[in-house]
């Protein structure tokens, strides 16, 4: 357990050192930078809230990723699945705006799940029944999702006000307040999204290790032959694993929309503009957490803090935001590169072992 946390953290620190050197090279004050990094992500109540909110989509996507990975499917379609979830939940809120909160809120969140599940399940279905590799299909489905988003926000879903004013900003009108994610402490911006995310991680854990369904998924992930022998419907399992992974990403999309300060969906023309790359970063968070849903909770927090701190660092010492992006990449690389060490140290602990086996199980079903 110690190795599980110590190694990734050491890796992160290593990457940060490099980052600070780069900052010094850019003529900015690394001490200030570091201060801002920590202050801006953990230093104050607002900073903590910022971090928690940033971690929320990472955790939702990451929890889904653990389910996919344990079934040995690589889901790099989180971006598109988040968009799909966001769009379906947004449309729902626009279609039935007058429902009471106690119906509308659960409904839109459910629609987020559905939208993502469809987007992910589609890739799963194509893989399981048509042999279309999920890497190809998810990359392509991301492209489809972004165009669908731009189409809908430019046309059917656009705020009528934008047409009248002629400003034509591709965004919906403010969504019904009944659908706002309730704030936890009234005044500040901490909404209930983080609770949903933690619940999702716990759900993923229970699903994988406490249910027969999860037993089947993990069996498929480790050995399709043994799974089939155990009577598991392998194709069905692969499809459902990607659907679940997508559903949680879709829920992340819905949380982004109904937890956003603007309480509306808006596009800058790219997926990242909406997702903030959580579809990718969630994968990283899941790895931080050793592909275990519960460990993904602190991992997401850590990575969220890094992203928030990075942005505050940028503001404080005015280095180009590109540096922060590069820094994230560096962190991912150092963490993933030291994973072997982590696995070695953690070897013997059940799921370290299982995660290790997974790597070798990957091959069989990459077809």
């Amino acid at each position: 357990m110690l190795a599980k946390t110590a190694i990734p953290i050491a890796a992160v620190i290593g990457a940060l050192v490099v980052g600070l050197l780069a900052i010094a090279a850019l003529g900015a004050d690394p001490v200030r930078a570091l201060e801002a990094l920590v202050q801006g992500s953990l230093g104050s109540r607002d900073a903590l809230i910022e971090t928690v909110l940033k971690a929320t989509p990472l955790l939702l996507v990451g929890a889904g990723i653990t389910v996919a990975f344990r079934t040995s499917v690589i889901n790099i379609g989180g971006e598109g699945q988040m968009v799909a979830g966001g769009l379906l939940s947004t449309s729902t809120a626009l279609v039935v705006p007058d429902l009471p909160a106690w119906i509308l809120l659960p409904l839109v969140l459910a629609m987020g799940l559905v939208g993502g599940a469809v987007w992910g399940g589609l890739a799963g279905y194509l893989k399981a029944f048509w042999g279309v590799n999920e890497i190809l299909s998810t990359i392509m489905l991301n492209i489809v999702a972004v165009q669908l988003m731009n189409y809908l926000l430019r046309g059917p879903l656009i705020d009528p006000g934008e047409i009248e004013r002629g400003t034509r900003i591709p965004q919906t009108k403010r969504l019904p307040e009944a659908a706002d994610l309730p704030l936890l402490f009234g005044d500040d911006r901490l909404h209930s999204g983080p609770l949903i995310a933690v619940a999702a991680a716990i759900f993923a854990y229970i699903l994988l290790w406490r249910t027969t369904f999860g037993l089947r998924l993990r069996a498929v992930g480790l050995s399709q032959e043994s799974a089939k022998y155990a009577g598991v419907n392998v194709r069905w399992s692969i499809t459902s694993a990607l659907a679940i992974s997508g559903a949680l990403a879709g829920l992340a999309g819905a949380v982004l929309v109904f937890g956003a300060e603007s309480h509306r969906m808006v596009t800058d023309g790219s997926t990242a503009g909406f997702t903030g790359n959580a579809g990718f970063n969630g994968i990283v968070a899941a790895l931080f957490g050793g592909l275990h849903p519960l460990w993904t909770i602190p991992a997401s927090f850590l990575f969220g803090a890094l992203l928030v701190g990075g942005n505050s660092l940028q503001r404080a010492v005015q280095v180009p935001s590109a540096l922060i992006l590069a820094l994230n990449g560096l962190v991912v690389l150092t963490v993933v590169s030291t994973d072997l060490v982590r696995r070695r140290l953690a070897a013997g602990t059940d799921d370290a072992h299982e995660a290790a086996e997974l790597v070798s199980a990957q091959a069989e079903d990459t077809s």
């Binding site: 406490r210 249910t211 027969t212 369904f213 037993l215 089947r216 993990r218 069996a219 480790l222 050995s223 032959e225 043994s226 089939k228 022998y229 155990a230 009577g231 059940d350 072992h353 299982e354 290790a356 086996e357 997974l358």
Partner: protein, 502 residues
């Protein structure tokens, strides 16, 4: 030219987590001799050879080639030293052609391009010299095990190995193929090559080798001139006590037919039919043993019966219900218990705990799950009980299946399958790769099942096992049952003949 050993292994020790695979082992090989290495499964034979071939680093000990100490830290070194190895598990790239597999890793006369035509020509020559004919352009996946075996030997010869290690080469061959192989052995020794021959089959060892070294639990327990050796002596050396080659079992009257297979045709992986219109009945309270050389459709047959493989035509009736093609769940639901041949990759999941593996196929039953939620107390109790009942050697029920020994993995699977009280039990190669102790135990379990009125169908390539355990013996050849005899009046020779298709 046969003075002074061409190869010498001194005090080799190799430790794996939890196992002392080789314990101060010494071994030598003279030019022109066949030196047999004998031992139960897990005795450490392959490990010793893998060290010789540079696949494992020994913890201690040294290797001498032609009298001088040499360090062999990877296969390239071994090859350079004129050492060739035919691995127990084939080292071939299925998607490549024979010539490509042979040429792999060799310099080409036409660098950077391959010179496969030259390679093919040389393969033909070697084939004629050593009696190993093969089509160089065929893709390996299309070839029979016997042919693949030949490629492995050709690979070594092509690199003019003087020292050739053959790790259980005969396990997968028909009697005829074995004879041909031994002819090839003769030609190689005539040229002064030295052969290390690993096998479990005593009569083969006695037939072909000049010297025999026996290993047990990682140690050398004896080395004898073949001339002075007998089956009994070798068996006792291997096991460390005298072995009952025949388990005791009371005669019993079979009752109604529980498994009826009619005109079953099953396609193999390459599309050709592996099972052709096979008919067979198994009755309550009898053990039907299927003898045959591997690759005659036994695997496909077993998978079809277990619901793991779709069938082309025919019926498989379990207590009257046709389950052909319905899938494993359905087969099991109708009373089938199945001990698969592919123990590691099919029967269990290495990264699952013993407890998880013990419910792998029954996790859906009310005892172990309640509306989709696993019931851990019940699962643990179940595991504890079976570990106890079936004497499964494991540190705990939370240990990973993969850390159990072959014999105990098999016991674990048997425990799971038998505890479900099947009406029909299908056991494929139940004792392959398990030591004689566990084998005896498994045999007694199978017989107990039969006595309890279960219809037992056992598939084995080990004729002695079939003879010892089965009530009726059905011989399978090229996807068909070529004959059924009562174990009572079965003669080894006749069955051997049937196995060869004669």
């Amino acid at each position: 030219m046969t003075e002074g050993p061409m190869l010498e292994l001194r005090g080799i020790t190799k430790r794996f987590p939890g196992v002392l695979a080789n314990d101060d082992v010494s071994f030598d090989l003279k030019a022109g001799e066949v030196h047999a290495l004998l031992g139960e499964n897990g005795a450490g034979k392959s490990t010793l050879m893998k060290i010789l071939y540079g696949l494992y680093e020994p913890d201690a000990g040294e290797v001498l080639v032609n009298g001088s100490v040499t360090s062999i830290s990877d296969p390239a070194d071994a090859i350079a030293q004129g050492i060739g190895m035919v691995h127990q598990h084939f080292m071939l790239v299925p998607s490549l052609t024979v010539a490509e597999n042979v040429a792999l890793g060799l310099d080409s006369s036409r660098r950077p391009f391959t010179d496969l035509d030259k390679v093919a020509a040389r393969i033909r020559e070697l084939g004629e010299t050593y009696g190993l004919s093969i089509d160089s352009d065929a893709a390996v996946w299309q070839l029979s095990v016997g042919e693949r075996q030949r490629i492995e030997i050709l690979k070594a010869l092509y690199r003019d190995a003087h020292i050739l290690v053959l790790d259980e080469p005969t396990a997968v061959l028909t009697p005829q193929e074995v004879d041909d192989l031994f002819v090839t052995f003769g030609r190689m020794t005539d040229e002064g090559k030295g052969l290390i021959f690993i096998s479990h089959k005593l009569h083969e060892v006695l037939e072909v080798s000049g010297r025999i070294t026996v290993m047990r639990l990682g140690k050398v327990v004896g080395s004898v001139q073949t001339a002075e050796a007998t089956r009994q002596i070798l068996a006792e050396l291997m096991v460390g006590r005298d072995v009952s080659f025949v388990p005791d079992k009371a005669p019993r009257e079979p009752a109604e037919v529980l498994l009826a297979i009619r005109n079953l045709t099953v396609a193999g992986d390459r599309g050709l039919n592996a099972v052709n219109g096979l008919n067979l009945e198994v009755r309550a309270g009898e053990i039907v043993g299927i003898a045959g050389v591997s690759g005659n459709g036994q695997r496909e047959f077993a998978e079809a019966v277990a619901g793991m493989r779709d069938i082309e035509s025919g019926t498989i009736e379990l207590s009257g219900v046709d389950i052909a093609g319905a899938g494993p769940s359905i087969a099991r639901a109708n009373g089938l218990g199945y001990v698969p041949e592919e123990r590691m990759h099919e029967g269990m999941i290495g990264a699952f705990t013993v407890a998880e593996n013990l419910i792998l196929v029954h996790h859906d039953e009310d005892e172990f799950s309640n509306r989709g939620m696993l019931r851990f107390p019940a699962i643990r109790r179940h595991a504890e009980r079976l570990v106890e009942e079936y004497a499964i050697k494991t540190p705990s029920i939370d240990t990973h299946g993969s850390s159990l020994s072959g014999g105990n993995i098999q016991k674990m699977i048997m425990a799971r399958e038998l505890d479900a009280e099947p009406a029909v039990l299908l056991a494929a190669q139940p004792t392959r790769g398990v030591d004689i102790g566990a084998a005896e135990y498994i045999h007694s379990r199978l017989i107990a099942q039969r006595d309890a009125g279960v219809a037992v169908l056992m598939i084995s390539e080990d004729l002695d096992e079939v003879l010892a355990v089965a009530d009726r013996i059905a011989v399978m050849y090229e996807g068909e049952i070529t004959g059924i005899v009562d174990a009572g009046e079965a003669k080894r020779e006749d069955i051997g003949l049937l196995m060869a298709g004669g």
